[in-house]
């Protein structure tokens, strides 16, 4: 309610301006930065940008609600896989010419569904990395087996081997590729598969393996508790890179996700893209919106994104410059990004997330077999997909 109140106040405050735009985002690091940036942008263009920050997990639901309620923001800076729900969110189709910063396929793939672009990539990454504390780990494990072998040694040092946001699907799906699977394929759900069942079994068995992964671990394990030295390793996204590096200082270490069964644990990656809900790009603010999009894709801002908020830009020149001057840690960051698999911006993937969550919860609760859990995943996913295909935004 506070959030809605804040948004309402913002809207009221600037209701008298000539052109006002609203942007919502969930990027914690950009919370103040974007506000400042928008102030600068207003000074330059006279277009006031109202920035709304919503925590991760709230943005999408808030967007859906706002679209339904008819008070959607003009823009949103969202993970590109939101595009899977482009129908519910009524994202505007982006003309290719509006994507100016990058023409890289891996970037464009994250915003393209059915040969249509629904977002403008601003930053890349959003992938998982293996962070470690050099105080406990001299040489990071390159395979899960190696990590398991280090477990006793690490425990002897009084540190827990590893912890991460165990129950979060985004982390879980990274373990599927080593078992030969992936949640979707060609906009079809591939959840009820043996590889998914093996992944589930392996994932749960980790809690009883020598690693003793704590299943109750929340994001704290991946961040605050890791930073406090409770864990030797953690798996966290690129978005935490700068904060962890600051927290650990000399002890900061980052590595590629280890292999499992001889195959790399493969995180998804996405771009943080600018989207236009409720078909805002077709509205009267189109020009202002395009102008702001271009601003955000500009060389300057793309540079600042990295230097000020540690978000990896998509601008090809900026990226090239960074790659050329990258330190070892950044190289790991970049390598891991290259090894990651882009989250398909498809309705199937959106539905898959829902199915995965439910099947995962069911299996981890101990009430179902892997087969029952993956069957539920598939069932729920398919239902959700069917529903999304039937639904367009409620008009």
């Amino acid at each position: 309610m506070k959030l809605w109140g804040l948004l309402f106040a913002c809207l009221m405050t600037f209701s008298t301006s000539a052109t006002q735009l609203t942007i919502w985002h969930q990027k914690e690091a950009a919370r103040d930065w974007l506000v400042e940036l928008c102030k600068v942008y207003e000074q330059k263009t006279g277009v006031k940008i109202n920035v709304g920050y919503l925590p991760t997990g709230e943005l999408k639901t808030s967007l859906v609600r706002s679209v339904i309620d008819g008070d959607a923001p003009d823009m949103a800076w969202v993970p590109s896989d939101f595009i899977g729900d482009y129908q519910k969110l009524e994202f505007s189709v982006i003309p290719p010419e509006l994507i100016t910063a990058t023409s890289a396929t891996n970037h464009l793939q994250t915003v393209t569904y059915d040969n249509q672009h629904y977002g403008i990539p601003l930053t890349g990454g959003n992938h998982l990395l293996l962070y470690y504390n050099k105080k406990y780990v001299e040489k990071p494990a390159t395979s899960w087996e190696e990590l398991v072998n280090q477990a006793d040694q690490l425990k002897a040092k009084g540190v827990k081997p590893i912890g991460w946001k165990y129950s979060e699907s985004y982390w879980f799906v990274a373990f599927i590729p080593p078992f030969g699977g992936f949640p979707v394929e060609n906009n079809l759900l591939t959840l009820n598969t043996p590889s998914m069942q093996e992944t589930l079994t392996f994932y749960r068995d980790m809690t009883t393996s020598p690693l003793q992964v704590d299943a109750s671990c929340d994001y704290d394990c991946s961040f605050a508790r890791f930073n406090n030295g409770e864990f030797a390793y953690t798996i966290n996204g690129d978005w935490a890179y700068t904060d962890i590096a600051k927290a650990l200082g000399e002890d900061f270490g980052v590595a590629l996700l280890p292999s499992l069964n001889g195959k790399p644990i493969q995180s998804m990656y996405a771009t943080m893209s600018l989207v236009f809900p409720n078909q805002s790009l077709s509205g009267e603010k189109r020009k202002a919106l395009i102008d702001f999009a271009n601003y955000m894709q500009s060389f300057e801002i793309q540079q600042r994104l990295f230097s000020e908020i540690s978000s990896f830009p998509v601008h090809e020149q900026v990226v090239a410059a960074l790659e050329n001057s990258a330190d070892p840690a950044l190289k790991v960051f970049l390598t891991q990004m290259q090894k990651s698999k882009g989250a398909p911006p498809t309705p199937a993937m959106s539905a898959a997330w829902i199915g995965i969550r439910k099947g995962f919860d069911l299996y981890m609760s101990g009430h179902a077999s892997p087969e029952e859990a993956t069957a539920l995943m598939q069932r729920v996913g398919e239902h959700e997909l069917k529903k999304s295909q039937k639904q367009s935004a409620i008009k």
């Binding site: 969550r357 919860d361 729920v380 409620i394």
Partner: protein, 654 residues
């Protein structure tokens, strides 16, 4: 005399005292306990009614809270939008979980979209629950969106409930469910847009599964946690019982119960709960009091029993002493000793008994003297009788011997008579011879002897000599026969003899006995039959019979006939004796073989003859004898004898 059927005075007294003491106590106790029970039951009922009302209020409040919670959750945008898109699922699930957490009776909460699809489910394991048993109801719910409000339905589906319970408590193999009913509560999810009035759509519903068993169980848990553990919910009634009463009937019967109305909004039929308290628990305090009371009563019983026992013993003890005294007297033990009793009435009885005892002793002494005298007399008489008996026996022996000798004498007399004739003839012939010889001698001396005289003399002499010889031979023959018969009669020698000729000889020897009678004897039988037996016995038998026939059966004026016949049949000798004498009447025939039985005792009969015959036949020869007769038709004896007599160890026949 059997005393088992009689009652003991002491036990009667004891029981009487006990009964007199205890009946009032017991009656009072029963009254008090019954009053206490009544009061306790009233108190328990009052408490129960209060508890029932509190619980009913509690359930109503929970129910209202659930509805309020449902209403609140059903208005939560995250929950509403979750039915629209799964994106809201995690947040909606958290809210459903909070709701479920507050209402443990809500086993499963389903957020279903308008196609009836369970978008979010708490608890997680209920994802596995197949909702098809209620899908038609859910479809109905969405069929008329305008009417879609909060509502509650009662369903009965044991199989569906089995699955619900299995998922609710997977570790419990079989939940002992008290009800197959379940409340299904619906709450609509309306999607409304803030700035778009046209958007108002029923996008889903919350469906809550609330088994009646859960209400029952939670109610009992509440009661327990509230310290009313003895109180239980016995039934939930909505038109009919919602519990499986058959499984609780027994318990139900042991409970004090009250009913309390349950006001459940959205539920059409009135609902009641029935509360009960275990009668035993409700009356536990009274039971405890009762126990104490009974302990006191028990103590009193023991006390009174002891008192009764002692009192009855003190009362009965003198009677026992008197009884003992009487028993002693009954055993003829009259040794008195001073018996001091505490009751004068009883002491008087003792004195009377003592006097009786003395009297009895005197009578007894007198009686003993009489018995002694009488015994002495009897002893003397007995001795005399014994002596007389011995004398009689001796006399009997003498008589038997005399009879034997008499028979022998008769034989001798007969033989002497027979011999007398030839001897007399011989004497006469010898006298004639002597006279002749004198005449011859005289003639010779006189010279008068002529030839003719000599021839005459020689003829006479020869005649005499022949006569003498003939008669002496006859005498010799007679003597020889006599000797044989006499020897046989007195001898017990076994020998072989010809029966027929022996009988013929015997008949001959008895001829003198028949001399005054006209008797002919006919002997018939195998003349060649040789017996190895006691001929003397046959002699004794037939002699007796013939003598008897002559003496007792025949008269001298008429001719009589005796038939003796024998034959061998089946290794036995059958001998028949028959005369044509007077016969014997039936009365006398019965006693024919009795010793000393005679009809001619005045004429010197001894009555031993046939007795001897009987003894000889039965003992000596090992056979049997029978007699048949009728007056005027003679008598017939029939003897059946083994061909070889038994070996005798005793030779004498009495």
């Amino acid at each position: 005399m059997q005393l088992s059927g009689f009652r003991s005075l002491r036990s009667t007294l004891s029981w009487s005292i006990l009964a007199l003491a205890l009946i009032p106590t017991l009656l009072t106790s029963f009254y008090l306990i019954s009053r206490f029970q009544q009061l306790a039951e009233e108190s328990a009922f009052s408490t129960l009614r209060q508890t029932a009302n509190i619980l009913a209020n509690d359930i109503e409040r929970d129910y209202q809270l659930l509805f309020t919670g449902l209403r609140s959750v059903s208005k939560d945008p995250d929950v509403i939008y979750a039915s629209y898109t799964g994106v809201f699922g995690p947040k909606a699930k958290l809210k459903l979980a909070d709701l479920a957490h507050m209402h443990p009776s809500a086993y499963g909460i389903f957020l279903v979209d308008k196609s009836g699809w369970p978008v979010e489910v708490v608890p997680t394991q209920f994802e596995l629950l197949d909702l098809s048993p209620i899908s038609a109801r859910i479809d109905d719910y969405f069929a008329n969106p305008i009417d879609a409000t909060q509502k509650i339905e009662t369903i009965k589906d044991a199989k569906f409930l089995d699955r619900v319970f299995k998922l609710h408590a997977p570790n419990i193999k079989q939940v002992k469910r008290v009800s197959d009913h379940m409340f299904v509560i619906y709450a609509p999810l309306w999607l409304s847009a803030v700035d778009r009035a046209e958007v108002h759509e029923l996008v889903g519903a919350l469906v809550v599964l609330m088994p009646v068993h859960a209400i029952y169980e939670n109610a009992n848990k509440k009661l327990k946690s509230a310290g009313s553990g003895e109180t239980s919910m016995l039934d939930i009634i909505s038109e009919d019982s919602l519990l499986n009463l058959e499984s609780h009937q027994l318990v139900h019967d042991n409970f004090l119960s009250v009913k309390a109305p349950l006001t459940l909004a959205k539920h059409q039929a009135p609902v009641q709960i029935e509360m009960g308290i275990d009668r035993r628990n409700a009356l536990a305090a009274i039971a405890n009091l009762e126990l104490k009371l009974w302990a006191i009563v028990g103590f009193l019983i023991l006390l009174f029993a002891g008192v009764a026992l002692i009192a009855s013993r003190r009362i009965v003890s003198p009677l026992h002493k008197i009884s003992g005294l009487v028993e002693q007297y009954s055993r003829a033990d009259y040794h008195t000793y001073p018996l001091q009793l505490r009751f004068v009435e009883l002491q008087r009885i003792v004195l009377v008994l003592d006097q009786m005892a003395e009297r009895i002793q005197e009578d007894q002494r007198e009686l003993e003297q009489r018995v002694e005298d009488r015994t002495h007399e009897l002893k003397t008489t007995n001795e005399e009788l014994t002596l007389t008996m011995e004398r009689l026996k001796a006399t009997q022996s003498q008589l038997v011997e005399a009879e034997k000798m008499s028979q022998l004498g008769q034989l001798v007399a007969g033989v002497a008579h027979e011999i007398n004739t030839p001897v007399g003839v011989s004497v006469t012939a010898a006298t004639l011879l002597q006279d002749e010889m004198g005449n011859i001698q005289a003639q010779i001396s006189e010279g008068k002897l002529t030839r003719s005289g000599l021839d005459e003399h020689i003829a006479k002499t020869n005649q005499c000599a022949e006569m003498i010889l003939s008669n002496l031979n006859r005498a010799a023959e007679l003597i020889k026969n006599f000797k044989e018969v006499a020897v046989d009669q007195s001898s017990e020698q076994l020998r072989e003899f010809n029966l027929h000729s022996y009988i013929r000889d015997l008949v001959s020897s008895l001829r003198p006995e028949f001399k005054h009678h006209k008797v002919s004897v006919d002997v018939r039988g195998d003349e060649s039959l040789m017996l190895f037996s006691y001929p003397g016995a046959f002699s004794q038998i037939l002699t007796n019979m013939m003598v008897n026939s002559v003496r007792h059966g025949f008269d001298q004026d008429n001719e009589h006939h005796i038939w003796v016949g024998f034959r061998v049949k089946d290794s036995f000798l059958e001998l028949t004796y028959h005369d044509d004498g007077k016969g014997v009447d039936e009365e006398n025939l019965k006693r024919l073989f009795d010793p000393f039985y005679t009809t001619r005792r005045a004429s010197g009969g001894t009555g031993l003859g046939l007795h001897i015959v009987y003894n000889v036949v039965s003992q000596k020869l090992g056979g049997t004898i029978g007699a048949s007769s009728a007056p005027g038709e003679g008598i017939t004896f029939t003897l059946v004898l083994p061909l070889t007599p038994p070996v005798q160890s005793v030779t004498a026949v009495e």
